[in-house]
Subunit: 150 residues, 2 copies
Amino acid sequence: MTEILRPIGSIYRALDAIANREFQQVKLAKGQYLYLARIAEHPGIIQDHLATMVKVDRTTVARSVKKLEQQGLVEKRPDETNRKIRRLYVTEAGADVYPLVQRENAYSNGVALKGLTVEEATTLATLLEQVAGNVAADWERVKQGQTRHY
Amino acid sequence: MTEILRPIGSIYRALDAIANREFQQVKLAKGQYLYLARIAEHPGIIQDHLATMVKVDRTTVARSVKKLEQQGLVEKRPDETNRKIRRLYVTEAGADVYPLVQRENAYSNGVALKGLTVEEATTLATLLEQVAGNVAADWERVKQGQTRHY
DNA sequence: GCGATTATGTTGTATTTGCAACATAATTAA
DNA sequence: TTAATTATGTTGCAAATACAACATAATCGC
């Protein structure tokens, strides 16, 4: 069978390391750029959904978002009707940092796609979305404690 | 520009989390499956090259491999001519664990490719290899301390 | 309506991770 | 040959990460 996991791993680890290093300049800790961007793009999202969206452990997201809050980049607001959830929004300061994240990500994306035609890039994106969909279900199952049987 | 980084991130984090969880059964700590597999496939590889290959920080690889050694899954042998490097090999115990890593990875790969035709999978793999190549150079530059200019 | 289950959030704790900084062998340059 | 640079390896340390366990609000099933 065609192997796709290894190049995906290489691409991810390389670009994630670069991103984390770059964002130290704006005092973002490892991983925080991910959450900041998603919150900026999905105002009012709650932590658990954020975790599911990015596929990171709930408790990791919880602590990282708490830190974003302490840094004044994100705020948690109570919901009108649901007393348990806290909705997430970027603050003004957070809104200032977000474009830097976008710019870095766009740059990395450009590096990644260098030498591919527009059609190739589109094909790649489409196939990756499909794969991401396939994998999401498995992740949620395992996160809920189910074990695989080979 | 077409966005490919996010699905790649989702796929990676989801499958990496699953893999790490599965491999707890064979007492592999987070990340160790990566190194064990590469050492099994490249007998005699040295730590630094392993780090470059998988795109993980040198010092992280160093500690993870040290632990593999302490667990008796990998051994470090001196080189004939070079007194500094230590060549890595899987032990018999390590050779027993390696197929389990292969099996899990193959399973995940299958989940990932579900619903894609053989041609689509091949296309995807080819494009991903190209992207991985593009990204590798950037990673090494940043790891050597060079900063990007946007 | 009420009990059971699920969803959401938090904290404790052990571990991995990665940047700095260092040590020294090997290689390159002069 | 020797000095400078690079390659390889390690350790200190601060921080992120993730599993387990818990708390409680919300929702579901009856």
